[in-house]
């Protein structure tokens, strides 16, 4: 299965990725960054680069009519990152509750991929972590590629 996505550029430590969203609002540069939280655990964040100031903003609403393609590109980046760092676990949450819901919808949409290749966990609204369940509301997510963690 192939997803329609944007071409991606990366840095040499392989933790920051760049692509351009293209739509009615023009060409918007986006950055995805994986930052270490603890050993083997990384935070995934996505933001827009302000063309005037160069600052990175993860609260701006691009509204560029290509959210599906942007989501698919982030999925590609997650796969590529995990291909390089197979034992990594990735934490993700939205900058706003609406964006977290968008991530949840994304996991639901690509559920067959997500659960075929990754263990997926969700942090419930009461902060407890559990295996991800479709249709349930979560405040954050963690994915870990199957078959690469110690003991598995």
């Amino acid at each position: 299965m192939r997803l329609e996505h944007y071409e991606v550029r990366f840095d040499e430590p392989f933790t920051t990725f760049k692509f351009f969203s293209e739509g009615p609002k023009g060409r918007i540069q986006k950055l995805v960054q994986f930052s270490p939280i603890s050993a083997g655990l990384y935070n995934l964040a996505l933001g827009d680069v302000n063309a005037q100031t160069g600052e990175v903003d993860d609260l701006v609403v691009s509204d560029n009519g290509d959210s599906e393609k942007v989501l698919a590109t982030v999925v590609e980046v997650v796969y590529r990152f995990c291909d390089r760092f197979p034992a990594a676990s990735i934490y993700a949450t939205g900058s706003t509750p609406a964006r977290t819901r968008l991530y949840r919808m994304g996991i639901n949409k690509y559920y067959h991929l997500a659960t075929g290749d990754f263990y997926v966990f969700g942090q419930r609204l009461d902060s407890e972590w559990e295996p991800f369940q479709k249709g349930k509301d979560y405040r954050a997510f963690i994915v870990t590629q199957k078959g690469f963690r110690f003991g598995i």
């Binding site: 299965m1 071409e7 990175v56 991929l113 075929g116 290749d117 263990y119 942090q123």
Partner: protein, 66 residues
């Protein structure tokens, strides 16, 4: 003759990763060690302090999830 690099990889789910859609951009190397989203990283560090997270990772390492 230079060895041809692998172009794609198919994962168990059937997902196909195209390596040629990813290119190194030296300009991005300036972000090495730079945390672009510090608030989100701080939030993530808090989220994984919950005791249920440690239990989940322990269970994962013991192979309790299929």
């Amino acid at each position: 003759m230079k060895e041809k690099l692998k172009e794609k990889k198919t994962f168990p789910s059937g997902f196909v990763l195209d390596y040629d859609k990813f290119t190194h951009d030296p300009e991005l190397d300036k972000y090495d060690g730079v945390v672009l989203f510090p608030k989100k990283v701080a939030k993530a560090k808090e989220a994984v302090k919950h005791p249920s997270f440690k239990k989940l990772m322990d269970d994962l390492d013991k192979g309790k999830f299929k």
